[in-house]
Every structure is written in structure tokens, then in C-alpha cells.
């Protein structure tokens, strides 16, 4: 089992969800985050003072998948989330030692979907 964490643009979330649906992957956790990177920030004005907030609104999705699903998940996310403009985001893959379904107490691979 691995965890896929993707930082994407908020507006592509729906498309990513659909792409994952096609793979029959439905378990996922979504977070509202702010990202800093190559993308330039947004300027806020306040009575003549301006602040450039370097952080842009991003959405982070986290999904734990079976090792064999990893590649198709990565490519599904990458395609659905890509606009080609700076700021499209990243996908990170991290190891998972254990997964437990709270409702049933099941552990391991079967607890995922």
C-alpha cells in the first residue's frame, strides 16, 4: 500500500474525481491548502497598501492505494489535473505501513475499498 498525495488546482478536482472513478477508485480525502511554488502570488490591496500573498489556493487529495494501482492512479491524476500552466502542482508517493477500516476493524489491503 502506498499513499498518493496530489496538490492540484481547486478547479480540476471534479475532473480528477471522475478520472479516478473510471479506475473504480472511490476512497479519497480532500484538503483545502495553500501552495507556494513557481506560480506567482496574488496581490491584495488594502487602502493603498498592497500585499502580495505568495500562497495560491490549492487542493490536496490523499488516497491510499494498492501498489499495483499506483501507476494508473498517478497517470489518471496527472492527465486530469494538467493545464500546462505553471502551478499545476505535484504528486508525491509515500509508503504506508498499515491501514485499518474503523467501521469493521479490518486491516490491510481489504480495508481500502
Amino acid at each position: 500500500m502506498v499513499k498518493v498525495e496530489a496538490i492540484i488546482r481547486p478547479q480540476v478536482l471534479e475532473a480528477v474525481q471522475e478520472a479516478l472513478d473510471v479506475l473504480n477508485i472511490s476512497g479519497m480525502t480532500v484538503l483545502d491548502v495553500r501552495g507556494m511554488g513557481k506560480q506567482k502570488g496574488v496581490t491584495h490591496t488594502y487602502r493603498g497598501s498592497t500585499y502580495t500573498l505568495s500562497l495560491s489556493a490549492k487542493t490536496k487529495i490523499e488516497l491510499v492505494v494498492h501498489d499495483e494501482e499506483l501507476e494508473e492512479v498517478i497517470s489518471a491524476i496527472q492527465k486530469a489535473a494538467q493545464t500546462g500552466e505553471i502551478g499545476d502542482g505535484k504528486i508525491f508517493v509515500t509508503p504506508v505501513l498499515q491501514a485499518i477500516r474503523i467501521r469493521t476493524g479490518e486491516r490491510g489491503d481489504t480495508s481500502l475499498h
Binding site: 478547479q11 471534479e14 496574488v42 496581490t43 491584495h44 490591496t45 488594502y46 498592497t50
Partner: protein, 445 residues
């Protein structure tokens, strides 16, 4: 609003009779002086209508997505700035200057010149009982809110500079002439005997059909094209806005009596009942169709009821007002789904509520107006050769106002496109107009 003035003034004369009896020589019926109580009411009513524009800002502002809330609110607020000035500079004169043609007023009041704070507006017969200044202010608030109503149709995608230019021109070239037709004692619809107590055609129909044109010309929002879910950022704001609109609308309709007498009291009562019935009508309609009565439905329904009663508020009684309200609530509830069928993107349903509701109200006014409530209806019936003729006149008013507003809007939009452009760029739309155009976020919570 002039038509009713005739009546009001005569009523006032009656009311004053107790005193008049004593004033034996007040015989010349010419000029009843300014009546302070009438003027207090009209001034208070003007203040109430003033508050409607911030109310509208909230009503609309709550419905858009978070990233466009300030842009949407500004669409209303900026009208308080721009149109107020334009009205004094030229709009009032175009609307209420002496009209010989019946299509527009005169030029005697340009730059606020000659608007008396002491004497009545001079072209009604008999004269009204409030000063021309008070009348001009009351009318100003109508001129301010009408283009702001349109802004709901173009929310989340119009360029700010284009919006300001468009509404400025629209205010002078579309609104002021229509106000002349319907309310100037020399206006051709006024003379024809068309009935519009507080603006069913001038305010709601005109803004509603202009909204239709502008949202077709602008095209759909990117997110509507992409079928993204669009959820209102803050419905508590919308409910507050609806509450302020209801409050202000008492001034809008009952203030249109231009004095305090039975007409004003009746207008308050029918306005209130229509709002109540509109709310219930919409809620029942959506409960049946979609299974749930919503807060937005309550807010929308009360506004629909208010729109529906507006032209009729000086001409119908309590039972008719409930009928108009409930019809407006139900029909507007159905009408807001038209856009999905017909494929235009009317962001906040100006067409479905103000266009449809205004038209409905104007026609129902012809059908239900009663001489018992307002003797002016008897005159109108006589002038038009009976009920059928009156309804026909109302239809003529609807059609000509709608046609003129639509053509006017289309032409002004083309001019605006050339000068400033009208549509935000896709990037601006994506980022949100608040940050893109105004450099601000509505909330930093």
C-alpha cells in the same frame, strides 16, 4: 407615479377639508401648499428605497461564489455613486422635464438646475403636495436601483469598467425615457392611460429584459459551460438582503402614493401581503417540484411577490394582492428554470424574477385594478374604453417598454464593447473578479 397624483391630491384636498372649511378663501383649487406630513412620508420613503440598493447588493452578493462576492456587491453600490450623479446632471430632466413629444422630457433641469426644494413639481394637475426636490430624490432612488437589478444577470463575468459604462449609458438612454413615457404627465403611455403605480414596467420589466439581452451577448460563464457546481457563498447574506429589500419596498410602493393617505396605507398592506404570498407560493412550488422548501426559495419568493405587486400596488385591494403574490411566486419559481432550457446564463435569475414578474404584474394590474381602491382606475377604464381596452393598453406598455429596452441594451452593449470591452478574461474569471478587478478578497477568515 403621476397618474395617481391626480387622485392623491384630490384626496388630500378632501382630507384637508376640515381645515379648508375654516380657510374660506382657500377657494382657488390651484395649489395645495406643500403638506409637511406628506413630505415627511415621501422623504422617509426615499430613504427606505435608498436602503434597497445595499439590500440588493447583499441579496445578490450572497448568491455568487466566494471569489466574486465583492464584485457583485460593487455592481449595486457603484450605482449609488454613478447614477445618483447622472440623475441630477441629466436623467431627471430627460425623465421629468416638460415633455412635448411624449417620448422624453426636457432640458430645463440639467445639472440640477431649477429643482425647487420649496414648491411642488410643476407639471402635474393639480399640483402634488411635496416639493419638487423631494420628488426628484424619491425618483432618484428608483433610477439607482434599476440598473443595479440588471447586474444579477452578468455576475461573475463582466468587466468592471464595461459595467460602469454600460449602466451609465443605460440609465440615461433607456431608463430615463421609459420613466418619461410612463410617469411624466406628458409621457405617451401616461396619457394613454397605462397603469404602473410603482414601476412594474419602468423598473422590473425594463431591467429584466435588458438582463436577458446582456447575458446572451456576454455569453456563459466558463464554469457553467464546464458544468461545475456553483453554490452560493453565503445565504445568510442573501436572506438579510431580502429582508432589507422587503423593508425598503414599503417605501418603494407606499411612497409612490407621494403622500400619506388611504392610498399609501393600502399600498403598504397589499405590498406586504404580496411578499408574504409570494414567499409561500415559491416554497410550495419548489417543495412539490424538488421535494424541499429552501431558504433561497423563501428569499426569492418574497422578492417575486414584491415585483408582481409593484405596478398594482395603488390599484388593488387585499385579496387581489394575495392572488398576485402567490401567482408571482409560483410562476417565477417555474420561470427561473427557463434558462436551462433556453440556454442563456442569467447568473442570478433577473429574467425569471424581474422580467417575468414585471410582465405578470403589469398585465394583472390591467385585469385586477379597481376604481374602489383608486378612482384613477375609473378614469383609466373610461379613457381606454373598458377593461379590455385597459388590458390592451397594459400589453402595449409591456411590449413597447420591452422592445425599447432590449434594443437599447443591445446597442449600448456594442458601444461599450468598443470602448472598454465587456467581458472579463478567462483568467480573471478563474481567479475571481474580486482579486482580478479589485485586488481584494471578500473574506480573509
Amino acid at each position: 407615479m403621476m397618474r395617481r397624483t391626480r387622485l392623491i391630491s384630490s384626496l388630500s384636498l378632501l382630507c384637508l377639508s376640515a381645515f379648508s372649511l375654516a380657510q374660506d378663501k382657500a377657494a382657488t383649487p390651484a395649489a395645495p401648499a406643500i403638506d409637511k406630513a406628506d413630505q415627511v412620508w415621501v422623504i422617509v420613503a426615499a430613504a427606505l428605497v435608498l436602503l434597497m440598493t445595499p439590500g440588493l447588493a447583499l441579496f445578490y452578493g450572497g448568491m455568487v461564489r466566494r471569489k466574486n462576492v465583492l464584485s457583485t456587491m460593487l455592481h449595486s453600490f457603484i450605482m449609488l455613486g454613478v447614477v445618483s450623479i447622472l440623475w441630477v446632471v441629466a436623467g431627471y430632466s430627460i425623465a421629468f422635464g416638460k415633455s412635448t413629444t411624449g417620448w422624453f422630457g426636457g432640458f430645463e433641469y440639467l445639472f440640477g438646475n431649477g429643482i425647487s426644494m420649496k414648491d411642488a413639481y410643476p407639471y402635474t394637475e393639480p399640483l402634488g403636495t411635496v416639493s419638487a426636490g423631494a420628488f426628484m430624490l424619491f425618483q432618484m432612488m428608483f433610477a439607482v436601483i434599476t440598473p443595479a437589478l440588471i447586474s444579477g444577470a452578468i455576475a461573475e463575468r463582466m468587466k468592471f469598467s464595461g459595467y460602469v459604462l454600460f449602466t451609465s449609458l443605460w440609465s440615461l438612454v433607456v431608463y430615463a425615457p421609459i420613466a418619461c413615457w410612463v410617469w411624466n404627465p406628458g409621457g405617451w403611455l401616461f396619457k394613454k392611460g397605462a397603469l404602473d403605480f410603482a414601476g412594474g414596467t419602468v423598473v422590473h420589466l425594463a431591467s429584466g429584459v435588458s438582463a436577458l439581452v446582456i447575458c446572451i451577448v456576454l455569453g456563459k460563464r466558463k464554469s457553467v459551460v464546464n458544468n461545475e457546481p456553483i453554490l452560493p457563498n453565503n445565504l445568510t447574506t442573501t436572506l438579510l438582503g431580502a429582508g432589507l429589500l422587503w423593508f425598503g419596498w414599503i417605501g418603494f410602493n407606499a411612497g409612490s402614493a407621494l403622500g400619506m393617505g388611504d392610498l399609501a396605507v393600502n399600498a403598504f398592506a397589499v405590498t406586504h401581503l404580496a411578499a408574504a404570498a409570494g414567499m409561500i407560493g415559491w416554497l410550495v412550488c419548489e417543495k412539490i417540484r424538488h421535494g424541499k422548501a429552501t431558504a433561497l426559495g423563501a428569499a426569492s419568493g418574497l422578492v417575486a411577490g414584491l415585483v408582481g405587486i409593484t405596478p398594482a400596488s395603488g390599484f388593488v385591494g387585499l385579496p387581489e394582492s394575495m392572488l398576485i403574490g402567490v401567482l408571482a411566486g409560483v410562476i417565477c419559481c417555474l420561470a427561473v428554470n427557463l434558462k436551462n432550457k433556453l440556454g442563456y446564463d442569467d447568473s442570478l435569475d433577473v429574467v425569471g424574477v424581474h422580467g417575468v414578474g414585471g410582465m405578470l404584474g403589469a398585465i394583472l394590474t390591467g385585469v385586477l385594478a379597481s376604481g374602489k381602491i383608486n378612482p384613477a382606475v375609473d378614469t383609466a377604464l373610461k379613457d381606454n374604453g373598458g377593461r379590455g381596452g385597459l388590458i390592451l393598453t397594459q400589453l402595449i406598455a409591456v411590449v413597447t417598454v420591452a422592445a425599447f429596452a432590449m434594443v437599447g441594451t443591445f446597442v449600448i452593449l456594442q458601444i461599450t464593447k468598443l470602448i472598454t470591452g465587456i467581458r472579463a478574461t478567462p483568467e480573471e474569471e478563474q481567479l475571481g473578479l474580486d482579486l482580478a478587478h479589485h485586488g481584494e478578497a471578500g473574506y480573509n477568515l
